[in-house]
C-alpha cells in the first residue's frame, strides 16, 4: 500500500491544532490576566463617571451676617470624539450668541496643549465657562440636537460685601501644580487661591461625589450603573464664621480711602482679628466670575500694588511705638525702675536728639508720654551694658543683645505667626547677633552702633499685624493669643506669654494713657472712654515718613487693640491717631460721634498730597 506511512500525518495536523490553541491561550492570558490597561479602557468606555460638585462652605462674619455665598453658573462641555461629522456649528453658535470665528478660535485654543494641557478628544472639555442662566437658556432647549455637548452647572462665589477682599481671598481655577500636589483636583476645578478661601480650602471645598452612568456605544446614557449602588454623594463644604466684624471692616476701609496703609484691630482677650484693612484694595466681586483673570491682571499691574496685603505683608520700622516694648523689657530686667531719671537736652541731646520739648530729667511715664528719644536710648544702652563696660571685646554685650532680642520677639514681633490662619504674612526682622557680626565684625559693634533700635528705627522691621498684636499683648498685661480669622474656640488655646511681670504692664499702660491725655495723641478722644496709645513715625528713606499709631480701649478693660499705619503721611498724630480713635469709637459705641472728623478723614487723600509735593 502506498498510504502506509501517511497515517503519521495525523500528528502533524493534530500538532497544528494544539499549537494554535496554546498560542491563543497565551494571548488570552496576557490580555485578560496580565495586561491591566483594557480594564481601565472598559471603565472609561461603558461607565462614565460624572462628578457631583459639592456646594462650597458659606462664610459669615462674627455677627452672623453672610459675607460669601454661592451662585450657580453654567459651563458648556464638549466631548470632541462624540460630536458627529455633521455637527450643526452655525445653529450651535447662534444659540450661544457667538460667531463662527469665535467657535473656531475656541476649538483651536482647546487643542493647543500649551493653553490646555488636559486636551483629549475622549474627555469633556470646557468649551465656554461662567455662563449665566440667560446665556445658556436657548441652547438648553435644543441641547438634544447636539451630540457631544453637555451643560454642566457649577457654582462661583458671590459677595454680600464690597470689603475684606484681602481677608476673604478668592476662588479660581486650579493649575497644574495644584493638580500634581493634590489628586483631589482635576483640570477645570476651582480652589481657594488666597486669603481665607485658600487657608480653609480643604474645609470649604467639601468632598466631590461621583455618579456612575452606563453609556452605550453611540454615547447615549442608558441609566445608572448598578442602580447607583456605587455612587458617592457629594458632601457640602463646611460653613465658617470669621472673627471679622464686617461693619468695622467697612469703617476701616473707608477711613483708608485715598491713602496707602493698613489697619489691624484685634480683640485682645481672644486674639480674634476684628478688622484687617489694607489700602488700596478692591471689591472681592471683581475676582469672581468671568472677569476674574482680566481684573486680576489689572490689579497686578496697578502701581500702588493693591494685591499686596499691607496689613500682613508690608514691614515697617515701628518707630516710637516700639518704646512701649523697650520700656517693658528694660523694666523687667531691672535696668531701670519707674523712677530712674535720664537727662534730656531736647534737640541738643547727644547721640540721639529728642524731637519733643519737655522738662528734664525724664522718668518712665513722662518718657513714654513725651516719647523722649534720649530716655530710651539711655535705657537701651544700660540694658546692653549691664554687667560689662561696653567695650567692643565684651562677650557679655553680645549675650545681653541676644537676651534683649528674645524678649522683644516674645511680643510676636519680627517673625511670622506660625500658628495662625492669616495668609500671606511677612516675618519682619529683629536683627540677629550674627547679622551685626557679619556687618561690623564680631568685635566691631557696641551699644552705640545699634542705637537706632532703642527708638524703633534702623534694621528693625515689623508688620502692622505684629504691631496690633503687640498692642493686644500690652492690653492683656503680658500675653497674647495668636491673631486669627476663624471664629472657633480651638484658636484661643494658642496663648503666648512674654514672661514679663504684669506690674510693669500697668506702668506702661499708664504711660500710654497719658499719651492720649497729655502727649502726642491728646487731640483726639472718645467720649467717656479712656484710651491708651502710642504714636510713631517710621523714617522712610524713600519719601515722607509713615504715620503710625498703636492703641487700645477702654484702658481698664480693653475690648479692642489697634495698629494703624498711613504711609508717607508724616507724624503719627496727624493721621494715624484720628483714624484709630474713630475705629475704636465705632467698635465700642456702635456709632461715630464726630461725623465731621470721619468725613474729613475718609475723604482726604494722602497720595495726592504727596504727589503735589513731589
Amino acid at each position: 500500500m502506498i498510504n502506509d506511512n501517511l497515517y503519521r500525518r495525523q500528528y502533524v495536523i493534530s500538532g497544528m491544532a494544539v499549537f494554535v490553541v496554546i498560542a491563543y491561550l497565551a494571548l488570552l492570558f496576557n490580555l485578560q490576566v496580565i495586561d491591566q490597561s483594557t480594564n481601565d479602557q472598559a471603565e472609561g468606555n461603558a461607565i462614565i463617571k460624572q462628578t457631583i460638585y459639592p456646594a462650597r462652605g458659606l462664610i459669615y462674619d462674627r455677627n452672623d451676617s453672610l459675607l460669601v455665598y454661592n451662585q450657580p453658573i453654567y459651563e458648556v462641555m464638549m466631548t470632541m470624539n462624540e460630536m458627529p461629522e455633521d455637527f450643526d456649528t452655525l445653529t450651535f453658535c447662534r444659540l450661544l450668541r457667538i460667531d463662527k470665528q469665535m467657535f473656531d478660535q475656541r476649538i483651536l485654543d482647546l487643542q493647543d496643549r500649551r493653553k490646555n494641557p488636559g486636551w483629549s478628544t475622549y474627555t469633556q472639555q470646557v468649551f465656554m465657562s461662567q455662563l449665566k442662566k440667560e446665556d445658556i437658556a436657548l441652547l438648553q432647549e435644543e441641547l438634544y440636537k447636539f451630540r457631544g455637548i453637555e451643560i454642566r452647572n457649577r457654582t462661583i462665589r458671590n459677595y454680600n460685601c464690597h470689603e475684606a477682599a484681602h481677608i476673604l481671598g478668592s476662588v479660581g481655577e486650579v493649575n497644574w501644580d495644584d493638580i500634581n500636589a493634590d489628586n483631589y483636583y482635576k483640570m477645570g476645578d476651582y480652589s481657594g487661591r488666597d486669603g481665607i478661601e485658600r487657608t480653609y480650602e480643604t474645609e470649604l471645598r467639601g468632598v466631590k461625589g461621583v455618579r456612575k452612568l452606563l453609556r452605550d456605544s453611540k454615547g447615549r446614557i442608558k441609566g445608572r450603573y448598578k442602580n447607583g449602588e456605587d455612587d458617592e454623594p457629594a458632601q457640602a463644604g463646611k460653613d465658617m464664621q470669621l472673627t471679622i466684624d464686617i461693619r468695622l471692616q467697612q469703617i476701616a476701609e473707608k477711613l483708608l480711602r485715598g491713602k496707602i496703609g493698613s489697619i489691624v484691630a484685634i480683640e485682645p482677650s481672644t486674639g480674634e482679628v476684628l478688622a484687617l484693612a489694607s489700602s488700596p484694595t478692591w471689591d472681592p466681586q471683581l475676582m469672581a466670575g468671568k472677569e476674574r483673570s482680566k481684573n486680576y491682571i489689572k490689579l497686578l499691574n496697578d502701581k500702588n500694588r493693591p494685591l499686596f496685603n499691607r496689613a500682613t505683608q508690608a514691614t515697617y520700622p515701628p518707630g516710637s511705638t516700639f518704646k512701649t516694648v523697650q520700656a517693658l523689657v528694660c523694666l523687667d530686667d531691672h535696668v531701670i525702675t519707674p523712677h530712674t531719671p535720664y537727662v534730656c537736652n531736647g534737640r541738643n541731646s547727644t547721640t540721639i536728639k529728642c524731637t519733643h520739648s519737655h522738662g528734664s530729667p525724664v522718668t518712665l511715664l513722662s518718657g513714654i508720654e513725651q516719647s523722649c528719644n534720649p530716655y530710651f536710648w539711655n535705657a537701651f544702652r544700660d540694658y546692653l551694658q549691664k554687667g560689662n563696660n561696653g567695650s567692643k571685646n565684651s562677650k557679655k554685650l553680645h549675650e545681653r543683645y541676644i537676651q534683649w532680642r528674645e524678649s522683644v520677639m516674645r511680643f510676636g514681633l519680627g517673625s511670622r505667626f506660625e500658628d495662625t490662619d492669616i495668609y500671606p504674612q511677612k516675618g519682619g526682622n529683629i536683627p540677629s547677633e550674627e547679622y551685626y557680626n557679619r556687618r561690623y565684625g564680631e568685635k566691631g559693634w557696641i551699644a552705640l552702633t545699634i542705637r537706632s533700635l532703642s527708638i524703633g528705627q534702623g534694621e528693625i522691621l515689623v508688620t502692622p499685624l505684629q504691631l496690633a498684636n503687640q498692642t493686644a499683648t500690652i492690653a492683656n498685661g503680658g500675653y497674647y493669643i495668636t491673631p486669627h480669622l476663624n471664629r472657633n474656640d480651638s484658636m484661643k488655646l494658642h496663648v503666648h506669654q512674654t514672661g514679663i511681670d504684669r506690674h510693669y504692664f500697668d506702668l506702661v499702660r499708664e504711660g500710654m494713657g497719658r499719651v492720649m491725655t497729655a502727649g502726642t495723641g491728646r487731640h483726639y478722644s472718645i467720649a467717656d472712654v479712656a484710651i491708651c496709645g502710642k504714636t510713631g513715625t517710621a523714617q522712610n528713606s524713600h519719601g515722607k515718613d509713615h504715620s503710625i499709631f498703636i492703641g487700645f480701649a477702654p484702658k481698664d478693660d480693653p475690648k479692642i487693640a489697634i495698629a494703624v499705619i498711613v504711609e508717607n503721611a508724616g507724624y503719627g498724630s496727624t493721621w494715624a491717631v484720628p483714624i484709630a480713635t474713630l475705629v475704636m469709637e465705632y467698635y465700642l459705641k456702635g456709632e461715630i460721634e464726630h461725623t465731621d472728623l470721619f468725613e474729613r478723614m475718609s475723604n482726604s487723600n494722602t497720595t495726592q498730597l504727596n504727589a503735589k509735593k513731589e
Binding site: 502533524v12 491544532a17 490553541v21 488570552l28 490576566v33 471603565e43
Partner: protein
C-alpha cells in the same frame, strides 16, 4: 432488525456530548451578547437568543434525522449535491436582496428568514472531494492527481469570493489542503504556503521602508536575501562539486559588492540587484541540474523563480487587487496603521471587552461592554468577546480547550475509518472546524485580519449552525457505519 439498528451503539457519544456542550454554552453567550440593559423579559422568541433557540432545536432534529438515514446515500449523491450547490451559489446572487447584505450577495432572504447557501457549500464540497479521492482506483502520485480535487474546492471558492463577494466563506476552502496533505500531497506544499504568507507579510510590511543606502525597500531586499539563502542552503546539501559551491557564493558576494561600489557614484536600486541574484541563481539551478540530473535542485530553482514573481506580485495585488477595506484590515494587523475608531474599532473594542473580563469574568448578563453594544457584530463573528467579558479567562480557556479536545477527537475518529470516503470526509470536517476556530479567534484577538467567518456553535446564525451540524452528524453516521462493518 437487530443488526440494522445496532449502529446506534457505535455512535461516538463523546463527540455528541462535546457538541451539545459547545452549543449550550454558545447559546448562553448569544443570550448575553443580545441582552440589553433595559430588557425586561429574560426570554422571548422574537429576540436574537429566542431565534437561535429555534435554530438549535432545528439543528438537533436535523442531527437526529441524519443519524437515522442510511449512510450509503452520501456516496451516491455526492456529485449531484456538488453540482446542485454550484447552481444554487450562482443563483443566490439573483435572489439576494438588492445591494446585498453588508456588501455580500451570499444571502437568500424569505421575509425575515435568511439563508446563506455558502455555509452548506463546505458540506457538498467535502462530500465531492471525499467521493473523488476515495475512489478505489484513485492514487495521489503526482500533481496531475490533484487537478480535480483543486477544481472541486476552487470552483465553489471562486464563485463565493468573486460572484457573491463573501471572501471569508471562500477562504475556508483553503482548509482542504490539510485533507490533501493527509491523503499524500507533498508537505512542501504546506511549507510553500507558509513561505508565501511569510514573503507576503515581509514584502507588504516593509515594502515602503527605504534602505539606508541606495534606493529600494527593506521588504524586497529581505525577501530576496531569504530566497538566496534558501538556494544556497540546498546547494550546500549537495556533496559533489565542492569547488562550484565556492564559486557560487563568491559570485553572489561579487554582485552585491559591485552594487555597493557603484552606489558610491550612482544611486543603485538594490531591489533590482537582489532580484537579479535570485533570478540568476534560480536559472543556474534549473539549467545546471538538467545536465547533472538533480531534479530536487531543479524544483528549488523553479521555486525561487516563482517566488520572485510572487513577491513582486504581492505588492501589486496588495495595492491594486485588494479592496480598500481589505487592505486596511491587513495594514492594521501588520501594525502599519492604527485606527481605533475606523477599521480597528471592532478589534479594539473586542480586545477591551475580553480584557476587562479579567480572570473570572463579569458574570452572565453582566458584561457592560457587551450590553452597551460596544463591539459590533458581537452576537455573530465577535461572539468570543462576550465569552471573554462575561466568563473571563476561565471561560475563554475553557472554550478553547473543549474545542481542542473536540477537534482532536474528530481527527481520531477520522483516522479510524477504514473506508477512504469516510476518512477523507471526516478529515474535511475536522479541518473545517480547525480553520474556523483559528481564523475566528485570531481575528477577535487582533492577530489575524478581520475575516468574517463564524465560530461554530457560538456565532448567531441558523445557516452556519445547521451546516456545521450536518457536517458533524454525517461524519458520526459514517463512523458508526464503519464500526458496524468491522464487527
Amino acid at each position: 432488525m437487530q443488526r440494522r439498528n445496532s449502529y446506534i451503539h457505535n455512535i461516538d457519544w463523546w463527540t455528541i456530548i462535546l457538541y451539545l456542550g459547545l452549543c449550550a454554552f454558545g447559546w448562553m453567550n448569544i443570550s448575553g451578547a443580545s441582552y440589553s440593559y433595559d430588557q425586561t423579559s429574560f426570554f422571548d422568541f422574537g429576540s436574537v437568543a429566542g431565534k437561535q433557540l429555534i435554530w438549535l432545536g432545528g439543528a438537533f432534529l436535523l442531527g437526529g434525522l441524519i443519524l437515522l438515514i442510511d449512510h450509503k446515500i452520501y456516496d451516491t449523491v455526492a456529485y449531484f449535491l456538488f453540482a446542485a450547490m454550484i447552481l444554487v451559489l450562482v443563483v443566490t446572487r439573483f435572489l439576494s436582496p438588492p445591494g446585498g447584505i453588508k456588501g455580500s450577495y451570499s444571502w437568500i432572504a424569505f421575509g425575515t428568514f435568511r439563508l446563506q447557501p455558502a455555509e452548506f457549500a463546505k458540506l457538498t464540497t467535502a462530500l465531492a472531494v471525499a467521493k473523488f479521492m476515495g475512489q478505489y482506483d484513485y492514487h495521489l502520485r503526482s500533481w496531475r492527481d490533484l487537478f480535480v480535487p483543486f477544481l472541486l474546492i476552487g470552483i465553489p471558492a471562486l464563485i463565493i469570493m468573486i460572484w457573491e463577494h463573501e471572501t471569508g466563506s471562500a477562504l475556508v476552502f483553503a482548509c482542504f489542503l490539510l485533507v490533501f496533505y493527509r491523503q499524500g500531497m507533498s508537505g512542501y506544499v504546506l511549507l510553500c504556503c507558509i513561505a508565501a504568507i511569510a514573503l507576503f507579510i515581509i514584502a507588504i510590511r516593509f515594502g515602503t521602508m527605504p534602505l539606508p543606502i541606495g534606493t529600494g525597500s527593506v521588504g524586497m531586499l529581505v525577501c530576496m536575501i531569504l530566497l538566496t539563502a534558501t538556494g544556497v542552503f540546498f546547494q550546500l546539501q549537495e556533496n559533489k562539486y565542492r569547488m562550484e559551491k565556492w564559486i557560487l557564493l563568491g559570485a553572489i558576494a561579487l554582485v552585491y559588492s559591485v552594487g555597493l561600489l557603484v552606489n558610491i557614484w550612482i544611486p543603485i536600486n538594490f531591489n533590482w540587484v537582489s532580484i537579479a541574484v535570485v533570478v540568476l541563481l534560480g536559472i543556474y539551478f534549473v539549467v545546471a541540474n538538467l545536465y547533472k540530473r538533480n531534479p530536487a535542485l531543479i524544483m528549488v530553482g523553479i521555486f525561487m523563480l516563482l517566488s520572485v514573481i510572487y513577491t513582486n506580485g504581492c505588492d501589486y495585488a496588495f495595492n491594486h487587487i485588494l479592496q480598500p477595506h481589505q487592505r486596511s484590515r491587513i495594514e492594521l494587523i501588520l501594525g502599519m496603521k492604527e485606527d481605533p475608531h475606523g477599521v480597528g474599532y471592532n478589534v479594539n473594542q473586542a480586545r477591551i471587552a475580553i480584557g476587562s473580563g479579567r480572570l473570572f469574568g463579569k458574570g452572565f448578563h453582566q458584561g457592560t461592554q457587551t450590553q452597551m453594544k460596544f463591539v459590533p457584530e458581537q452576537a455573530t463573528d465577535f461572539i468570543f468577546s462576550t465569552v471573554g467579558e462575561e466568563w473571563g479567562f476561565i471561560g475563554t480557556a475553557g472554550v478553547l480547550i473543549v474545542y481542542l479536545i473536540f477537534i482532536l477527537r474528530l481527527i481520531h475518529i477520522a483516522e479510524r475509518q477504514k473506508d477512504n470516503f469516510s476518512r477523507i470526509f471526516s478529515y474535511s470536517v475536522a479541518s473545517i472546524f480547525l480553520f474556523h476556530l483559528t481564523i475566528n479567534i485570531g481575528m477577535v484577538l487582533g492577530v489575524l485580519p478581520v475575516i468574517g467567518i463564524p465560530l461554530p456553535f457560538f456565532s448567531y446564525g441558523g445557516s452556519s449552525l445547521w451546516g456545521f451540524t450536518m457536517l458533524l452528524f454525517i461524519m458520526l453516521r459514517l463512523d458508526a457505519a464503519g464500526a458496524e462493518q468491522m464487527r
